[in-house]
């Protein structure tokens, strides 16, 4: 009778082998060849613990379900002493492994169940939280020659890098503002700045950015990045500046 019970328990344990510890496997493997001697002593405890579901998002909960046999003293790490079988609702904030130890007259055995807490919200939140500073750090301005609005070869490389960042942030809208140096006439420079913004937009769309994400404006020479009267300063001011269009 005891043997039968033990055998049937072993059989059912084998059916759910995915949760049986190696120690248990060892006993199970060791048990059949010498049946008589262990039958004389107290039977070893068995333990099984599952968690349903085995993966949750933070804030959600899952149910632990455990059963043991031949155990007198059952505890789960982090929870403490528990009934020999039972259920408990848990709601960890990060991935947790529930380690159950069952002790009985025949020795001790253990079982574990792992509850994975997924962290999916942060990744989708990241692109939405793209800040102006982050944008400008990654999407560099391009610079133009004197009284010109064609995209220079050195600016093409910048455009490629800008475009790849923008492709990884498909929700970001882009404002391109054209700027001119302090020389020349205000009204003509408004047109020149517009043409620089237009040229930058064309280059970005050719690099794969959807034109509907892009808005262009011109500040002409009305806003200056650098106010000294020398070529390095003028070059700083002849640009198409990219910013996050809110």
């Amino acid at each position: 009778m005891k043997n039968y019970k033990k055998n049937s328990a072993l059989a059912s344990a084998a059916l759910v082998a995915f949760l049986i510890t190696t120690g248990c496997h060892h006993k199970e493997a060791a048990a059949p060849p010498p049946p008589p001697p262990p039958a004389e002593t107290a039977p070893a405890p068995t333990a099984n613990i599952t968690v349903t579901p085995n993966s949750i998002a933070p804030g959600q909960s899952a149910v632990l379900n455990w059963t043991t046999t031949n155990a007198t003293d059952v505890s789960i790490d982090g929870i403490g002493a528990v009934e020999t079988s039972g259920t408990k609702t848990v709601s960890p904030t990060e991935t947790a492994t529930y380690h159950l130890v069952a002790r009985g007259d025949g020795g001790s055995t253990d079982a574990t169940a792992t509850l994975t807490v997924t962290q999916p919200p942060p990744p989708p939140a990241a692109p939405q939280q793209l800040t102006e500073a982050e944008f400008e750090q990654n999407v560099k301005p391009i610079f133009f020659d004197y009284d010109a609005y064609s995209v220079r070869p050195d600016a093409q490389a910048v455009i490629s890098q800008d475009a790849s960042f923008l492709q990884s942030h498909p929700d970001a809208k882009i404002l391109i503002a054209g700027y001119c140096d302090d020389r020349g006439s205000s009204e003509y420079n408004l047109a020149l700045g517009q043409n620089r913004a237009n040229a930058a937009k064309t280059a970005l769309t050719q690099a794969g950015i959807d034109a509907s994400r892009i808005r262009t404006i011109s500040y002409g020479k009305e806003k200056q990045f650098c106010t000294e009267q020398n070529e390095s300063c003028w070059q700083q001011n002849r640009r198409a500046q990219f910013s996050l269009d809110q």
Partner: protein
């Protein structure tokens, strides 16, 4: 105002001789004076200090202002050889009975004409009697006799002086004066680039718009009722219209992108401006309320700064970068008959003279890093393409705008990154600053 037939004949003879001399000199020497009397022999004119009548507390201030403004207006007109106050007889004739013309026509004054009169403040009214006498005509010397009676405000003396000066200039110069005209410009002295207004002589400067963004290119309508300008902010650049009578913005359609540099047609019914709504900035024309849009230019490169021929309304001068650096062009207002006017350099900001004959514009004839010369104001005769340079070595000058009488040009002068508005006669003489505070830019002279 009344003049005998005899006096009329004399006036006609005088005017004829002035015009004849002007035309002769224009042909012989300087064509730019044609039609404006600049360069003609100047009439020797004395302006006596006006006599105070009455004893109102406000009178002495009013008299001082009146005398200063009248003298300045007549000097600024550019067609008079003014008798300096120190050479004029130290008398204040308050009426025809009190003037001794021989005192004025004799040395050292040597005046051909003398303006004089009386000013009174009484019961909240300011009353001025003003006369203009021909000092060498002993028989019937009166050329002008004017009476003004206006509510007394701190500005009234200045206003009446402008009116009387304009009457004298119209009578002796043949074209209405400009002393009552206004100048619109951009100033940053409030902290933002807003549109401001001032009198033609720089007096009475005050802020017009309060939009707290960047205002550019103010253009007053021909009737003075509406002000078109460009407002630039993070949403783009748009044409805005401010009503001078309602003292607020009135609606004008707003479009994504860059619309700027508006210009009124002389009938006030249409606006030309530059717009990037089709991509490349081109010249467009709409009704004064922003509808009925049509594109006038279609050529790669910036097209900006249109201005109508104020005489005909059927032609537009503008700036195009279609061949590289910006040049002045003219065309019919339907876009046909395009002619390039400048032959190189960097030319911007055309302004069409009121008589339709000339274009003023800013030009850096040798443009580029290290090139000699600067950006100066030039005037070109449209028919012959001949030009003269009006400013020399006074910093970067831009945005010329003609006075209603065509005798004056205001412009923006920039030295060391600091801009002020200056005025000069249309031959480049008589240059003087009108603004002294903050940065003042893009002046636009009213049409009358």
């Amino acid at each position: 105002m009344e003049a005998s037939p005899n006096r009329c004949r004399k006036q006609a003879a005088l005017l004829f001789s002035i015009l004849f001399l002007a035309t002769t000199l224009a042909r012989a020497q300087d064509w730019v004076h044609t039609g404006t009397n600049l360069g003609a022999p100047k009439i020797r004119l004395a302006a006596a200090d006006f006599k105070m009548v009455g004893n109102d507390a406000a009178l002495s201030t009013a008299q001082l202002t009146f005398n200063q403004v009248l003298y300045a207006d007549l000097t600024n007109a550019g067609i008079f050889d003014m008798v300096s106050k120190s050479l004029a007889p130290a008398v204040m004739p308050g009426s025809p009975q009190e003037i001794n013309l021989s005192q004025w026509r004799s040395p050292p004054a040597n005046a051909a004409m003398v303006a004089f009169g009386a000013i009174n403040v009484q019961n909240g009214r300011e009353i001025v009697y003003g006369w203009l006498f021909d000092a060498k005509n002993t028989q019937s010397p009166q050329v002008l006799g004017q009476q003004y009676n206006e509510a007394a405000t701190p500005d009234t003396a200045r206003h009446i002086a402008h009116e009387f000066a304009d009457a004298i200039i119209a009578r002796l110069g043949g074209i209405p004066g400009i002393a009552e005209s206004k100048i619109y410009y951009i100033s940053d002295r409030s902290g933002n680039k807003e549109v401001w207004e001032m009198d033609y002589d720089g007096a009475n400067q005050h802020q017009v718009t309060h939009v707290s963004s960047i205002c550019l290119s103010p253009r007053i309508s021909p009737d003075g009722g509406r002000l078109a300008f460009d407002e630039l902010n993070s949403h783009g650049s748009n044409i805005r219209i401010y009503s001078m009578s309602l003292h607020r913005m009135v609606s004008f359609p707003i479009h994504d992108g860059t619309d700027f540099s508006p210009a009124w047609a002389p009938d006030g019914n249409n606006l030309a401006f530059s717009s990037s709504r089709s991509g490349d900035p081109e010249i467009w024309i709409s009704s004064a309320s922003g509808f009925g849009l049509r594109r006038v230019t279609a050529y790669r490169g910036p097209d900006v700064s249109p201005v109508f021929n104020p005489k005909t309304g059927t032609q537009i001068a503008w700036i195009s970068g279609r061949t590289g650096l910006p040049q002045v062009y003219i065309m019919e207002s339907d876009g046909t008959n395009v002619q390039r006017m400048t032959d190189g350099g960097y030319a911007t900001s055309p302004a069409w003279s009121p008589n339709g004959q000339f274009l003023a514009f800013a030009w850096a004839r040798n443009y580029g890093p290290g090139a000699p010369g600067g950006q100066d104001i030039y005037v070109m005769d449209i028919a012959s393409h001949r030009w003269i340079q009006l400013t020399h070595d006074i910093g970067r000058t831009d945005f010329p705008s003609w006075s209603p009488d065509g005798r004056h040009i205001i412009f923006q002068r920039t030295v060391g990154g600091h801009s002020e508005i200056w005025t000069m006669l249309a031959d480049g003489t008589g240059q003087q600053a009108l603004t002294k505070v903050g940065n003042s830019r893009m002046p636009n002279w009213s049409w009358k």
